[in-house]
């Protein structure tokens, strides 16, 4: 199952990220993970949150440009090579990773790696078939 990530457009200006976190704080939304892609002129703030619907509504009401993106959330052990093995599986299946970021797993030991691949469905199938554990929306809610 794919996980929904919220992407928010942010101009390169002082306080742009704080504006986003402020809106989420006021809406009582908890952040599970955050990653920021930055370019010379703008950034894209990527978020995994516990209350997705509330977060989307609050951000939009505050005039922010948001989009939902499907991502793969992979649970990996806290051991050397754990992430490497997953990437190897994807690469061998001809899948390209566009971006990735990680956070401490909300389900016990290890970490959660967020992956955005060129073919998300294929990546999902590949990782499932190889026995990798994937997280669902419920796993990040608690």
């Amino acid at each position: 199952m794919l996980l929904k990530q919220i992407s928010v457009f942010a101009e390169n200006r002082r306080g742009a990220i704080m504006d986003i976190t402020g809106v989420l704080f006021n809406a009582g939304v908890n952040l599970r993970a955050i990653s920021i892609a930055d370019t010379t002129d703008f950034g894209v703030v990527r978020l995994i949150v516990d209350k997705r619907k509330e977060a989307l509504t609050a951000l939009r009401e505050n005039g922010m440009t948001v989009k939902e993106t499907d991502v793969v959330a992979l649970a990996v052990d806290d051991t050397p090579g754990a992430f490497h093995n997953a990437l190897k599986a994807l690469t061998e299946s001809g899948i390209m990773v566009e971006y990735s970021y990680g956070f401490v797993s909300p389900i016990g030991e290890g970490a959660t790696i967020i992956l955005k691949c060129d073919d998300q469905e294929k990546a999902l199938g590949c990782l499932t078939a190889k026995g990798f554990k994937l997280l669902t929306a419920d796993d990040v809610k608690f």
């Binding site: 990530q5 457009f9 370019t39 703008f42 440009t65 989009k67």
Partner: protein, 438 residues
Amino acid sequence: MSYHMYNREAEAMPKEKLRELQSERLCEMVKRVYEKVPMYRERFDSMGLKPEDIKSINDLTKLPFTYKQDLRDNYPFGLFAVPMDEVVRIHASSGTTGKQTVVGYTEKDMKLWGEVMARTIGAGGVTKSDIGHISYGYGLFTGGLGGGLGSETIGCATIPASTGNTKRQVTILEDFKPTFILATPSYALTIAEYMEQNGITADSLNLKAGFFGAEPWTESMRKEIEKRLNLKAYDIYGLSEVIGPGVAYECECQHGLHVNEDHFYLEIIDPETGEPLPDGTEGEIVFTCMTKEALPLIRYRTRDVGMRIPGECECGRTFVRMMKPAGRTDDMLIIRGVNVFPSQIESVLMELDGIAPYYQMIVERTGNLDNLTVLVELTEDTFTDEVRKLEAMSKKVTDAIHSVLGIACKVKLVEPKSIERFEGKAKRVIDKRTQVNF
């Protein structure tokens, strides 16, 4: 002191003789235009005006005005007074709504252009022993080819360097040792800057004069160019509708620009009433092309603001001097010598899918170069999580603007509703350049 003149007989012609020549040329032109250009014939007829009613230059004010819109309405060749067989050159400048202003030249017009440009350069002491470096753009823009034509008419070895590739231009300046340069003032300073960054001093060049125009520049810029390139900087004025560069030029006295009055008649009018204004009063610059064959415009409203300077010039020229234009009567911006209208940017954005109609143009002078930044608001539909796609989108806008305006700009995607609205409409232009004098 004796002042340089390319054509003393014409440039220092006795005032009365000049007046006679203007009368003769105007009458002849009016007859020709009435016969050959339907728009003028209709306009004359509706006013009950006959070509015979124009007996001297004093009757000029009886004639109707010509507007930029007339050129657009008769796009591309409708106002040409000769068959295409006789046209040997076409130039065009960028227009507001995709429609450009098209001008044509006959063989005789080309000679005339060479002559008036030769006077322009000659006023700075250039003779056929000189070597000319032309850094105006060669192409549809009149600057490069017009400037080069003047240099060749004098008999100078002429280097058509055109714009860009500053490194190579500096190598040429160092190795070929041109003695004069034609460029936009901002490009002259870009050259100076490049030289300084690379430890090349003005002593290694051989420039004695520079002829600068086509964009706003100030007296302080003049001093800076003179100091950094070690030359004397002259101001030149022209517009493609009249002929291109070569309409008016500075002499060594540098108190106003002499208008090539035996070919182009200068009037200053009140832009509201259309009434002619006395010398020494600021108003809209209006030109009548008395000798051009292909595109002889009558009382063309330039929308530039200027003034006829009263009195005579020490240099001995009898041609009237005009004060360097002090602004525009409309919303046109001149960026790096290129005419830009906000509506052009708007039409570019409208044609691109998924781009909000909210934009803002910011014009700044960084160092000595005009920089245009276009802020474009993003919408939720166009926003994507993929940085690559967002960058491709801004590049698409940049490319589209470049192809329409012919100048590079920086496109910056901004958050929705972040552009300041003014009475419901976004504020379109923020010109941060100070002292726009041209």
